[in-house]
Amino acid sequence: MTTAHMPLRLTTGSGRRRARFSRFMTGVMAVAVLLALIPLLLIIGVTVAKGLPALNWEFLTSTFNHSRREAGGGYLHGLVGTLYMGGLAALMSIPMGIGAAIFLTEFPRHRLSGPVRFFSDVMTGVPSVFVGLFVYTILVRQIGFGTFVGALSLAIIMLPIVVRSSEEVLRLVPGELKRASYALGATQWQTVFGVALPTAAPGLITGSMLAVARALGETAPLVLTALAAQSVVIDFQGGGQTALPLLIFREARGAFEAGQQRAWAGALELMMLVLLLTVLARLVGRQSRYRG
């Protein structure tokens, strides 16, 4: 339709020269692809190469509460904190996010659904450090640093991701299935919980796992909410908590060889955790019969 108004600017010159130029530009694009793939390979390669020698049993199962310049010890407290806060954040954000997505698909004409959808999109663009500041102002000032406030900041980062991905898959549930359910006399809630959610389950799980993966790698909000901890913390709130990204961040800039060694090992541990979740999420998603 709009193409009628668009002049087709053909390069003047011989056909052979134009064909050669076209091939040349295709080559330029292939180079662009390489420019993205080389960093990917380098980042995975270097992290494995530098992290693997230090990623041993001691690293996985102990903490270091001695000096930062000494070798040895590990990030067990970081792993525990990451999983603890990640799990709590998932518990908070996934039900809420899927709930909001149900609202968006079941009441598309509701007064609030336009704004909710739009602002979920906008929320995905809110800098994560700002989310940290926000939780700091409303909670940390009152109840202190700790696991719960850290988890809350991660949950806020996950929420819009869960909402948007869940809405996407819920909308793909075929209308015939839902109408068949209504025809059998099911109520709207029976249809949502008995038909729509089970049908969309693989997609919902994929979206939620990707959101968790994203949250586990977050550092900036935790600097402002979880703060730090020297040993394994199981307290729900108060006294600070740590996480793999926090420990990596602190030791990455340190001047000590031993600390940097631990940072690389921690980076490998975190990367395996995040990439594993990402790949698993895709595999689950592939099970779904109804996907985009």
Binding site: T3, L112, V116, F119, V129, L224, A267
Partner: protein, 298 residues
């Protein structure tokens, strides 16, 4: 439905509580908060006694993001063109997957890798060469120090390439095949079809994607905090150190006084205002495209 409203409530609270806490800082500094270059925190618990002028950090944020966009945009458009117009399904699928993996790598790992490998080993030699050859231009003036705008910008570029690529690719896919065939029927080469049909039709989408990428670059914290070096002076050379808003917040939060923290919150509000304007504009543009979900951008 409560959950739906929760999204709105959280966003509203976010703006309200942070703005409220930072109001004293804004009031005490006035317009010089944005334009001045002197950041000198006081030690008071109850009132604002220091000087807080954020232009150094705003400048650093803009410079690093600009470098990132200048690098990432052409690369991302090139990748998207290659994936939609050149590569067949067999080749495109694993490539798409790999570019998406780039987005899954946590930012702290980008920082660690950039600080201890990418910047010193890969970026430093070409940066030295450019600075030696073009050093008479102020923005390329040497010497190249180990923490600088350029290193932070390049790593940022790598981080936002997958975001821009995903959206631009979606827009390119939405161009009807009949348009392409019309071009080919007129004797256009593959490149001419891309240049005169695919790209012009997708211009709003490319602009929207660029702005989303820019929004992400402005707010990116940890990788930049590790690479930019800090400092309180404005350096015009991209090979000198600087500081961004986000990096300033995480770098100084722990040793800040109560009023210093309020000032950091004011910085955060400034950053938030910058990103929200860009994001809302980008979303409005993308929204207008209709079919494009932008799901990959989450």
């Amino acid at each position: 439905m409560l959950s739906g409203a929760a999204v709105l409530v959280v966003l509203g609270l976010m703006i309200g509580s942070t703005t409220l806490d930072s109001l004293p800082v804004f009031f005490s500094q006035g317009i010089s908060f944005l334009t001045g270059t002197n950041w000198d925190p006081g030690a008071s618990r109850t009132e604002i006694t220091g000087t807080y002028q954020a232009w150094v950090f705003i400048y650093g944020t803009l410079v690093t993001s600009l470098i990132a966009i200048v690098i990432a945009l052409p690369v991302a458009v090139g990748i998207a063109l290659f994936l939609t117009e050149v590569a067949g399904h067999r080749l495109a699928r694993p490539l798409i997957y790999m570019v998406e993996l780039l987005a899954a790598v946590p930012s702290v790992i980008y920082g660690l890798w950039g600080l201890h490998f990418f910047a010193p080993v890969i970026l430093k030699p070409p940066a030295n060469a450019v600075s030696d050859a073009l050093g008479f231009i102020p923005i390329f003036a040497g010497p190249v120090i180990s923490f600088n705008f350029f290193f932070a910008g390049v790593v940022l570029a790598i981080m936002i390439i997958p975001i821009i690529t995903a959206l631009v690719r979606e827009v390119f896919t939405a161009v009807p095949d009949t348009d392409r065939q019309a071009g080919f029927a007129l004797g256009a080469t593959r490149w001419e079809v891309m240049r005169s049909i695919v790209v012009p039709r997708s211009r709003p989408g490319i602009i929207g994607a660029t702005m989303l990428g820019l929004g992400r670059a402005l707010g990116e914290t940890i990788a930049v905090a590790l690479l930019i070096g800090g400092g309180t002076a404005i350096n015009f050379s991209i090979f000198q150190q600087g500081e961004t808003i986000a990096a300033k917040i995480v770098n100084t939060f722990q040793e800040s006084t109560p009023e210093g923290i309020d000032a950091l919150i004011a910085l955060g509000v400034t950053l938030f205002a910058m990103t929200i304007v860009i994001n809302v504009a980008a979303r409005l543009i993308v929204r207008r495209l209709g079919d494009v979900s932008g799901e990959a951008v989450a």
